[in-house]
C-alpha cells in the first residue's frame, strides 16, 4: 500500500510543482513570483515529509525547518524592498 501512496503523491506533487513553476515563469509581478516560490518550497517540504513517512526515518526534519526559514526570510525580504515598476497598473 505504501508503494501505491508513494506513486500517487509523487504524481500529485509533480503536477503541483509544475503549476507553481509556470506561475513563477509567467507571473506578472514580482510578488506573484515570490508567492509561487513560497508554494514551491512548501511542495519540496511535502515531498521530504512523504519520504520520511514512507521510509520511516527522521533524517529530513532539520532540512524541513531550514526550508521554511529560507522561505520566510526570502519572502519577507523581497516584500520589504519591492517597488512598483509597471507601466500599466491594471494589468494585475
Amino acid at each position: 500500500m505504501m508503494q501505491l501512496v508513494l506513486t500517487v503523491t509523487a504524481v500529485v506533487l509533480t503536477l503541483a510543482a509544475a503549476g507553481a513553476i509556470i506561475r513563477i515563469a509567467r507571473g506578472p509581478s514580482l510578488l506573484d513570483r515570490v508567492l509561487a516560490a513560497d508554494v514551491l518550497l512548501a511542495i519540496v517540504g511535502a515531498a521530504l515529509c512523504i519520504d520520511m513517512a514512507v521510509n520511516r526515518h527522521l533524517n529530513n526534519l532539520m532540512l524541513l525547518v531550514a526550508i521554511s526559514i529560507i522561505g520566510f526570510v526570502g519572502s519577507v525580504t523581497v516584500a520589504r524592498f519591492v517597488a512598483d515598476r509597471r507601466e500599466n497598473v491594471r494589468e494585475s
Binding site: D32, D38, C49, A53, L64, V89, S92
Partner: protein, 131 residues
Amino acid sequence: MTDALIDAVSAVFMVVGALMSLAAAIGLLRFPDLMSRMHAATKPQVLGLFLLLAAVGLQLRTWWVWPVLVVAWIFQLLTVPVSAHMVGRAGYRTKHLRPELLSTDELEAVVQQAAGKSGFTDDAGPVAEER
C-alpha cells in the same frame, strides 16, 4: 489489525496533504490577482504540512517524535502569517490588486485619512477655505 489501521490513516493523510499542494498550484494558476492567490497559497503551508507531519508521526510510532513535529509545525504556523502579511502589505502599497474584485476595502479610509493629515492641501491655504 491496529498496524493496518494506522497505515491506512497515514496513507489518507499523505494523499490529502499532497492534494493540498495541487490545490494551491491550481489556485495560483487560475485566480485573477495577488490577494486571491495568497489565499490559495497558504493551504499546503499550514494544513498540508500538518497532515504530512501527522503521517510521519503515525508511521514512526515512537512517542518522542511528536514534540519535534509539533515544534516544526508551530514554527511554520508562526512564520506563514508574518510573510503573508508582508507580501499583502507590499501588494497593497504597490497597487497589485484589482479594486473591483474587493467586496470591502477597509484600509482605503485609513490611508486617505493619513494622507490628509500629513497632506499639503488640507486646511492651510485659501484653496481649502473656498470649498
